[in-house]
Structures are given as C-alpha cells and as structure tokens.
C-alpha cells in the first residue's frame, strides 16, 4: 500500500494541471467562437505559418 503515497499526490497533481490548463484557455478567450475555430482548421489559409 506504500504505492498510494506516490499515486495520490500524482493524481491530485494531474487534476491540478488539468484545472490550470482549463483556466488558461478561459482567460485567453479560447471559447469565444468554438464553431468558427472548428471550421477554420479545415481552411487552407495560414497552414504554413501562423496568422500575424
């Protein structure tokens, strides 16, 4: 059962990473246009380099 001493902190840490990532996406306005973003990846424009 000693393995729990590692596993529980790891699971908590991974959950925390997920939460932080989500908070980051909210703060950087990544949910403003979900439908448009889903379509934009199909477009050929800006495939080679990111939009300035």
């Amino acid at each position: 059962m000693e393995v729990l001493a590692y596993l529980i902190p790891i699971s908590l840490f991974l959950g925390g990473v997920g939460l932080v990532a989500f908070v980051y996406t909210v703060r950087s306005n990544q949910y403003e246009d979900p439908e448009g973003d889903a379509r934009r990846i199909l477009s050929d424009e800006w495939d080679d380099r990111p939009k300035p």
Binding site: L4, I8, L19, V23, V26, Y31, G36, R39, S43
Partner: protein, 724 residues
C-alpha cells in the same frame, strides 16, 4: 482588443479613479457587423477576404458562433461602406452598436460561472477516483484516509463553486420564500456534515462525491441557461438603433451637428433627403415627400409642402427640408407611442414557465419527504446518526440534478437551432409561449412586404417611353425611381438621351428630350389622374401622360411562412395601417382570408387584446412603431431585424435575416422543445420513483446515489440533444 480588456481588468485603480476628460487621438474605427447568413468555413474565408481587401480595413475577423464580424479599420471607414461590399459577395449584413458590444465582450458573469463549473468538475473527478476505490473494497485505515482526502478536496471546492446557490437560497430565505436552491443547498450542506461526521467516526458511507457531482451538474445547467439568455439578449441590444442619434441644427453660426437630446422647441433643423425626422415639427422651407411607413404602415409617400406638420420617425425622401421643432424628446409622437406599449405590457398576463411550475411542486415535496424520513427513522431506531444519514441520502437522491438540466439543456439546443436559422430568442419563456399559439397576426408594410416598391406594368409601355423614363428615373434617389431604374435596366432597356435633367423636390424629375419637355413624377404635376395604387406618371411634351404602377414587393419567404401556418391549422390575420386596396390586394395574393385595413396603432393593440380575451393565443409579427403596442399585447411576438428599435424591444424573438420562412419552422421547433422539456421532467421523475424508496428505506449507498444522479442527468441531456 484582448489586450485592452485584460489591461483594464488588471488595473482596478483605473476603474476606480474618476474618469478624466480624455481627448483620444483619431482612433482606429471598431466596426461590428451582424452576418445572419454565414454558416460554413467557405463563408468565413470569403467574408474575411472581401473585408481585408477593402482599402482602409486593417483586420477583420469572423465569429461563426455569434455570426458576426469584428473589423478594425481606419477612422474614416464606416459600417455603411462595408455593408455593400459584403452584399456584393452575397452576404446580408447589419451594423451592430460597438458601444453595446464592449459590455458583452468582457462577459464577467459567464466566465465566473465557467470557473466554478471547472473547479467543481475537476474536484469531483478526483474525489470520484477515491470513492471508486472505497466502493471497490478499501477498508479500515485506507478507507478513512481516502475519506479525509476527499473531505480536504470537497470542502474548499464546494465553498468556492457552490456560491451562486448559497447566495440565491439565502436571498429567498431572507424574504421567507422557497426556491429551487433551498433544497439544493440543504442537500449539499447536509451531505457534507453527515459525511464529515461519519468520517470522524470511521463510518462506512461518505457522500463527498455526491455533493460535488451535484454541484457540477447543477452548475452546468446554470451555465447553459445563462449562456443562452446572455447571448440572445446582448445580440438583440446590439442591433444598432434606427432612431437618429444626431441632427443638423441651423444656428447663428450656420450648420452644426448636435445630439438629438440637445434639441429644444423652436430650433431650426435641417433634414437631408434619406434622413429621419429627429423631432416633431413644422416644415418652414423646402418641399419633399415623406415616407411614413414605419409609423403608420402607409406605403404611399406623402407630399410634404411648406407648413406641413411632421412627426419624429418619418423619412424625408427627395428634397432637403428645414423644420422648426414643435415637440422634442419625451413629447414627440415617437415617445407617445412608447407609452402605448407600456400600457399594453402592463396588461400582459405573467406567464409561469414550466420550470417554475415544477419548482413550486418540487421544493416543498422534497423537504417534507426528507423531514418525514428523519423523524420516522429517529422514532424507529432512536439513533440520531442513522436518521440524519438517511435524511441526507433522501435529499441527495431527490436533488434536482436532472430537473436543473431538464429545461436549460432543451432551451440551449432549441435556441442554437433557431439561431442557425437566423432567429434570436430574447425571452426565456418565449419558446414555451410560441409552442402554444393558435393564431398569427401579421403586419403588412415592412413585415410581409419588404417596404420597397416594385414596378408591375413594365410590359404595358412603349419602348421609347421606357427609355425616357429610365433616363429621368436614374437621376433620382426616390424609392419609386430606384424601383423603375432597377426593373428597366433588368429588362435590358438603355436610357434615352435626355438633357438638363433636374429633380424638383416633392414633385419629380424633369428634362429635355429632342426639344420636348419630359417629366416623371406625381400625377398632379404631370397631368395624370390620382389613383389609389402607388404610381408615377411620365409626360412627354403634349402627349397624354402614361402611368407606371408599383406595388410593394413581398419579403422573401412571406408566402411560404403564411402557407406553412395555414397548413398547420393556425388562423392567419393581416392587420395594416395601409389603405384598403393595398391590404386587400396583398391578402388576396397570400391567400389570407381575414384582414383589416387603415388600423391605427390603438386599433391593432385593441384587436390583439380582444383576441387574447377570447382565449386565443396570438403570435404577432410586426416591425413598425404602429405595431409596437400590439407586439407587447400579444402572447408572443416576433419582429425582423430591420424593425424600429421600439418594436424589437417589445418583441420576444428577433428575426435576423431578411427571409420570413424560418418563423414557421420556429413554431415547429418550439412545440418539439416543450415536448422534450416535459419528457425530461418525466425521466427525472422516473429515476426518483425508483431511487427514493431505497433511500427512505435506508438501503441507499453513495454508489446508488452516484449512479442515479449521473444516469438521470446524462439521459436528460441526451434527450435534449435530439433537438439539434
């Protein structure tokens, strides 16, 4: 844009400090356009390419979810310059008010709910992981440790994410009332307290996971609900007001542009052709024609000589007019019309939504059930710990997870579907009310018809006459001239060589053709006879004048919408302020049996109220100021985006595009949506009927609670998704 928002948000001092008189240097223009027609990735790239190619536009970005484009451009670029560009590419566009827009962009409440939702979600995942280990056989010290870790996660997470429920429940309790949030808060708190107690005594069952999943599912429902409503409300507010915000005042120093609110009685105001009257007044100089369709529904332009009284909201068509203001602000006829709306709205019976009805039954029921099982078990076993555990289990299992999702999930799906068809639901209960209608009342001008005239007798004229008429019409921006030009050029006619063409405001255009005087204009001026139908006359020299007849063109989809309503067995009525002939003609064209002409705004509202009193559920579709009171009086109302501000405010649903046909589909969707809501309530009830007896009998475990809660919430959401 993003940077600006974060900067202001990061600096509370900037907001707190008194606003300094800022004189911004000519800043880049921020333009927002509503694009009801876009739907795919090709649309995105076409619109962005067209806009970016326009000189002066720095950056344009389309938001497909909100169906709008945000444009950064040089200061002198206006939305009116860009709309024709997009229309040329085949996309309908309307200007949005960027001022109202900035308020919704930094959507604090929505973000706040989303954060709480995320915290509840991640916390419940972690706790669920620990709980599963307990359910699958962890015992003794291991189980206690897992429970303590769960508690350490659950307590702070709930303290943060369940705050909206605490606040709502508290405000309801303070005024001694019960709402849906009271049993929710009670369930969450009781679950935490008994679980802590059990954990401290090394007990077997802890409900930390249940408390967290409960919060998570309920927050999801809240967020959906909030999003649907906030998006619709803000989008409706952003449609730029049609009322003129500025007017040209003729002062001692010449012309000056002032805000309409600064005008006072006695001011001289210049109204250019195409402009709207900002105030009530009298014409002191100039001659023109006035379009009163938005106020009265008349399609025929009215001749406006010197001395005529004009009302705010009328549109000046041909010549510049100088008017002396006789009433400004609140006293204008525009505002008196708004008073009518207030009266109509006070008469509208308040509609109780299905969710409210459910909550009214549900909240007391749950409390009584929980209290009874507590008392019953206390009497039976004499052990307060067992009794409290069972009461908590009952509360958790009955907790309205599925009920909280039942309505928002359906309305989100339905509003999303309607939004894709170009309709905006402004009011939360509008869908439910739309599902109940059995009668549709249409306005004519601007609703069933597009308000622009169409030449009807092109074929009756000699080729030579048409060439002269086209030459004269092309020189004027009068709506009839524009219509004539459009259909004549469409028929491949070339303009004749007419010289010295001049426009005589209020009368028509005049010119010289092979030494003869030619005129195109009003009957009295050209020597024609007055007719009831909209007409323009062409006189060539001394020959008898010939008449060009016009009728109002149908709005696209109007015939389809009327037909769909008739097929669905709903009564269709046409009520208009226009003349009898015009209304009868349109009613005949669309196959509407029941119609009423020359209706004053009061008549319209009175008719709608009368119908409602007879027990009919009326859907009113209208756009003019004269419809506003009727829109407010009807059971549910729809207005097109081109409608006057007041009409859009008074209606529950706004039609974004030009096409009327989505209205009939909307009724269909609304009926389906209410059916789904009722189904969802039934599904939620079935789960309760199965799980509650177990809980009351003391057989419920945290595992059963988690299963019941999750499966019912998921079934309800899936059922709602069938609407999309």
């Amino acid at each position: 844009m993003t940077a600006e928002i974060t900067n202001t948000a990061a600096c509370p001092g900037c907001i707190a400090s008194p606003a300094e008189p800022m004189r911004p240097a000519p800043k880049d223009a921020q333009i927002a356009l509503s694009l009801p027609g876009i739907h795919c990735s090709a649309c995105i790239s076409t619109v962005e390419r067209e806009l970016n190619a326009y000189p002066g536009v720095f950056d344009a970005r389309v938001n497909l979810t909100l169906k709008r484009a945000m444009i950064k451009a040089a200061p002198d670029i206006r939305a009116a310059d860009l709309i024709p560009v997009l229309e040329g590419a085949g996309y309908e566009a309307h200007e949005l008010d960027p001022g109202a827009l900035s308020a919704t962009q930094s959507d604090k409440a929505g973000r706040d709910l989303l954060m709480r939702l995320a915290v509840a979600g991640f916390a419940s995942m972690n706790v669920m992981l620990l709980s599963v280990s307990v359910w699958s056989g962890a015992t003794d010290a291991t189980r206690d440790m897992f429970h303590w870790i769960s508690a350490a996660i659950a307590l702070p997470a709930i303290a943060f994410s369940a705050q909206p429920f605490f606040a709502n429940a508290w405000s309801a309790l303070r005024v001694r009332r019960l709402n849906m949030d009271v049993p929710i808060v009670l369930a969450i708190l009781l679950a935490l307290v008994t679980s802590l107690w059990e954990t401290a005594l090394s007990g077997e069952h802890a409900y930390f996971d249940a408390a967290l999943t409960l919060t998570f599912f309920l927050l999801a429902g809240r967020y959906l609900d909030y999003r649907t409503r906030a998006v619709a409300r803000s989008a409706a507010e952003e449609l730029t007001a049609l009322e003129v915000p500025r007017a040209v005042r003729l002062g001692n120093a010449g012309e000056e542009e002032v805000a309409v609110s600064e005008l006072s009685v006695g001011d001289l105001i210049l109204v250019r052709p195409g402009g709207r009257m900002p105030v009530d007044g009298q014409i002191v100089s100039g001659q023109s024609e006035l379009d009163r369709s938005l106020l009265t529904g008349e399609t025929l332009p009215v001749f406006a000589p010197e001395g005529l009284n004009v009302s705010a909201g009328e549109v000046n068509l041909t010549g510049p007019l100088t008017i002396r203001a006789t009433a400004v602000g609140e006293d204008t006829s525009l505002h008196r019309m708004a008073d009518l709306v207030a009266i109509a709205e006070s008469g509208r019976s308040r509609y109780t939504s299905l969710a409210d009805k459910a909550a009214k039954l549900y909240a007391p029921g749950v409390h009584i059930l929980a209290a009874l099982s507590f008392v019953g078990w206390y009497i039976y076993s004499g052990d307060i710990r067992t009794a409290l555990n069972i009461a908590a289990a009952v509360l958790i299992i009955t907790c309205p997870c599925a009920l909280g999702l039942a309505v928002p999930a359906v309305t989100t799906a339905a509003s999303g579907r309607l939004f894709r068809n170009g309709m905006l639901i402004k009011d939360a209960t509008a869908l439910e009310r739309l599902a109940e209608i059995d009668m549709v009342v249409f306005d004519k001008t601007g609703t069933l018809t597009s308000g622009t005239p169409e030449l009807t007798n092109l074929a009756d004229h000699a080729h030579a006459d048409l060439e002269i008429a086209l030459a004269l019409a092309a020189a004027s921006s009068h709506p009839l001239s524009v219509a004539l030009t459009k259909s004549a050029t469409g028929a491949g006619i070339k303009a004749a060589d007419v010289r010295n063409v001049t426009e005589v405001p209020g009368y028509g255009t005049e010119g010289e053709y092979h030494g003869q005087r030619v005129r195109l204009g009003r009957a009295a001026w050209t020597g024609g006879d007055e007719r009831s139908q909209t007409s323009a006359w062409l006189s060539v020299g001394d020959q008898a004048p010939v008449a060009f007849l016009f009728s109002d063109s149908l709005r696209p989809g109007a015939a389809k919408a009327v037909q769909a309503f008739r097929d669905a067995g709903k009564d269709v009525v046409l009520i208009s302020g226009d003349t009898e002939g015009a209304v009868e003609d349109l009613a005949g064209r669309l196959g509407i049996q029941s119609w009423m002409a020359q209706a004053l705004p009061q008549d319209k509202a009175a008719r709608v109220t009368e119908l409602s009193n007879q027990g009919r559920k009326v859907l009113m579709v209208g756009d003019g100021l004269n419809d506003t009171a009727a829109l407010a009086a009807a059971h549910v109302s729809i207005s097109p985006a081109s409608a006057l501000d007041a009409a859009r405010v008074a209606s529950d649903i706004v039609l974004l595009g030009n096409d009327l046909s989505p209205i009939a589909d909307a009724c269909d969707t609304a009926v389906k949506a209410t059916r789904r809501i009722r189904e969802n309530f039934r599904i939620a009830t079935v789960y309760n009927v199965i799980a509650v007896p177990l809980a009351v009998a003391g057989l419920a475990t945290p595992l059963i609670a988690a299963l019941a809660m999750s499966t019912s919430s998921i079934t309800v959401s899936l059922n709602a998704l069938r609407l999309r």
